[in-house]
């Protein structure tokens, strides 16, 4: 049943994609109902699968099916599907958020010129995302991985008339490809050693030491590079903020909840083969990204940019969790984060939507509808949006009673425990708690700037309205899902994440011989749990308090502090000049190199070297001609006039090009031949 259902879940959105591409424009309502029908059916199936998983309550549940895709005798590629608890939860997340996005978009993109195309791409995305989730081997994962990249490319570039959108889509794809190179090298290293692409075989192969040491570390890091690209980890983080050029529901679906989480999902899946060294790389990349991105989010004015950097930061958290060994916590955070971050994006979408309409009413096309400095005091006007976003903000800030608290706490506990065992890596918890503090701060900054205080553009405030029901529906649903209760059932302890999730998603031992066992890690995390909890509650409240003093009470002036810390402020606001430096030291040199190479190829190599041969031949023939004339003819004329005359006339007749001369020569030849033959 599970395999069948998951196949339906996989292919229904693809069917919708095909229908939309070919017939979308001709269908009533541009066919959005086709896509919605497909995704809702997928959702229903996912819910059924989820329900039977809960009722089965088997942590070791696993079903696999595969088929031979390429068969050259020895060389075979088998593709297949793997359904376990992880997969089922992930499928539910993807289909749920995707359904919300579909519904939300019907209103958000009403009247868009490429409305049907948009829904088609959503279908393509859902298909490929589910493909990643269901893959039981690296090759099909890689394939869907790239397809996800393409759908992201298409959706970010949905408004391709804008240069920034077109640039962003290209940037997203190329940056992801950098990661994918690593991914592919990792695949090759593993296949070379083990001879299979399937996860099961790989884990067994690693356990039986078919691949060890540096090679395994490199393979792990290679695969992780793929995750870095997709999950927008430092230094490949540059594409995600730009990806906000896409429509906001897309940002919610792909660049907050699901696609970027694919990197984490991959890291979770391959966790068993990561060596301690590889895990350290993972942990540091994740931890640094968490803090680094959070520090950028503080100063952003664009509401979606804040959320984008917050997403990068939260993804860093998850990666950090994988690196420190508590990979189920990473997956838990992935789950809760998907819900509240998608909700935050929908909320921002709702705000932008109404700003956009208000500005439209005023015929103001210059003001940026996404700039928080133009907002303020929307609380009364958009109550549903406000409350729903508020719940999610509490969740992301890590306030007790909310989902984010549980998952973040699990991660921080794991990190803390890791540092307790390896004191030299004390930086990792510092990254973690630091990021938690900043997160609480900037998330409330965003809330306060948008919904509280006085309106910054009072002339607009009258035109700000709550969004229609089809948009607020998802907001209410996901806002509700920010409460902790959904993740700890059937237990009711807001301090502990113990519940169906921890029962069903149980960490397994790493396949790498010598790595600490899952039991050891979870005991350590349990041990550090209380300290981590108090610390995280403390930093969350400090962050919220600071934000409150800055933006509500205004006892501390944001302007004054930004002047005082001018250098840091400017760095943060300009994202540490990453785009500029990449452009200066990476893109431009590459382009210059390309130009140079093309020039060498065409202007130098071809024109002088290759054509040089032609010229050489030409020259040689001319020299020969000159020699013929000057050397032979002239010298002989100067020498013996008589012979010259004779030879000259003879030569002249030879070179006439007249038919009769040729007949003569032919006959001469014939005679010579006959003479040879006869005598």
């Amino acid at each position: 049943m599970f395999i069948d259902y998951s196949l339906y879940i996989l292919f229904l959105p693809l069917l919708a994609f095909v229908i939309q591409i070919f017939f979308g424009k001709k269908l009533p309502r541009q066919g959005d109902w086709v896509s919605i029908l497909a995704i809702v059916s997928s959702l229903v199936l996912a819910v059924i699968m989820f329900a039977s998983m809960i009722s089965g309550y088997d942590p070791n549940f696993k079903q696999e099916a595969s088929f031979t895709w390429i068969d050259m005798g020895e060389f075979k590629i088998r593709l297949g599907f793997l359904v376990d608890n992880l997969t089922i939860i992930m499928l539910l997340v993807v289909t749920l958020i995707s359904t919300c996005t579909h519904l939300f978009s019907t209103e958000y993109l009403k009247g868009d010129i490429r409305y049907s195309r948009y829904f088609a791409y959503l279908g393509l995305f859902t298909f490929s995302m589910n493909g990643i989730v269901l893959a039981n081997n690296l090759i099909s994962m890689y394939m869907f991985w790239e397809l996800v990249g393409v759908s992201s490319y298409l959706l970010i570039g949905h408004w391709f008339e804008k240069k920034s959108a077109a640039d962003a889509s290209k940037k997203a794809f190329l940056t992801n490809r950098v990661g994918d190179i690593g991914f592919f090298i990792g695949i090759m290293l593993i296949y070379n050693a083990i001879g299979s692409f399937a996860f099961g075989d790989i884990f067994n192969g690693v356990a039986s030491e078919m691949i060890t040491g540096t090679t395994l570390t490199l393979a792990g890091v290679g695969l992780f590079m793929g995750a870095m690209g997709k999950s927008s980890q430092f230094p490949l983080h540059i594409w995600l903020p730009d990806a906000m050029e896409g429509p906001t529901p897309v940002s919610a679906l792909m660049h907050a909840a699901t696609m970027v989480a694919a990197g984490v999902y991959l890291a979770v899946r391959i966790f068993p083969i990561l060596t301690p060294d590889a895990l350290l790389v993972v942990a540091y990349v994740g931890g640094f990204t968490a803090l680094f991105a959070a520090s950028i989010a503080i100063t952003q004015r664009d509401i979606k940019k804040v959320l984008a950097y917050s997403t990068v930061s939260q993804l860093g958290y998850m990666i950090l969790a994988v690196g420190t060994g508590v990979y189920t916590a990473a997956f838990f955070h992935l789950l809760t984060h998907a819900m509240f971050k998608a909700n935050l994006f929908y909320g921002s979408g709702s705000v932008i939507h109404s700003m956009h309409h208000a500005l439209h009413e005023k015929h103001d096309h210059d003001t940026d509808p996404q700039d928080m400095m133009n907002m303020g005091g929307f609380r009364k006007k958009m109550p549903i949006t406000h409350w729903s976003m508020f719940l999610s903000t509490l969740a992301i800030a890590g306030v007790p009673f909310f989902s984010g608290f549980l998952s973040k706490d699990a991660i921080l506990a794991g990190t803390l425990s890791f540092a307790q065992h390896h004191p030299q890596h004390f930086l990792l918890p510092v990254f973690g708690f630091g990021a938690a503090l900043i997160t609480a701060f900037y998330m409330f900054r965003m809330m306060f700037l948008t919904f509280y205080g006085k309106s910054q553009m009072p002339e607009l405030i009258d035109d700000i309205h709550e969004s229609p029901k089809i948009m607020t529906g998802p907001l209410v649903l996901l806002g509700g899902l920010s409460f902790f209760i959904w993740y700890t059932l059937p237990y009711f302890n807001f301090m502990s994440s113990h519940g169906w999730f921890t029962d069903l998603v149980v960490p397994k031992d790493s396949s790498v011989p010598g790595n600490p066992s899952a039991d050891y890690i979870s005991k350590g995390a349990h041990h550090a749990h209380h300290l981590a909890m108090y610390l995280s509650i403390a930093v969350a409240f400090i962050g919220i308090f600071l934000s409150w003093t800055f933006y509500i009470k205004k006892s501390l002036s944001a302007e004054a502090w930004s002047k005082r810390l001018r250098l840091l402020y400017r760095w943060s606001q300009n994202k540490y000049y990453f785009d500029e430096n990449y452009n200066k030291y990476l893109y431009q040199p590459t382009l210059r190199l390309a130009k140079k190479v093309a020039w060498v190829d065409w202007e130098l190599y071809d024109k002088y070297f290759i054509n040089g041969f032609g010229r050489l031949t030409n020259l040689a023939s001319r020299v020969a001609g000159k020699f013929d004339y000057d050397g032979i003819d002239q010298v002989l004329v100067d020498g013996t006039a008589k012979i010259a005359n004779f030879l000259g006339s003879l030569l002249k007749t030879v070179q006439t090009g007249k038919l009769q001369n040729y007949v003569l020569y032919v006959t001469c030849g014939l005679i010579i031949l006959m003479i040879i033959q006869t005598f």
Partner: protein, 164 residues
Amino acid sequence: MPVAEIVFWLVAAFTIISASFVVLNNQLLYSAIALLFSLFGVAGLYIFLWADFIAGIQLIVYIGGINVLIIFGIMLTNKISSVRLSQTNVQQGVGAVIALWLMILISLVISKTPWLQIESSEPSETVSVIGTLLLSKYLLPFEAISLLLLGALIGAALLSREAT
């Protein structure tokens, strides 16, 4: 020496003398007329070779067709004021030497080769045999050559047409 023998040598001499007249004479029209005689001579030789049908064809096609064509050609390409249409030659010295050599060599080859010579009797008639052969054994070449002839005909017509 029987009469036939004498006649044979006469015909042969006639042929060769007219042929050399064709080659050596500088007046085109005279050459053409000499060619006519030479072709006559060849036809005579055919009769000595028991090939009366070929001889007939030689008369009809060569003399009646080709030679007339040549004379037409001469007249079409020259402003005719008199029959003395002179023409010039090139590389006569070398040409003569080479032609002479050629002749000597071929003659040498002929004399040196032990030719197979089968005595046979004169066929009673050649025409019907040739006809049968043409339509049986040589049907394909026959068809091919008729196609060729047709092609040449059309080609010649096309070529000599005034450029439009």
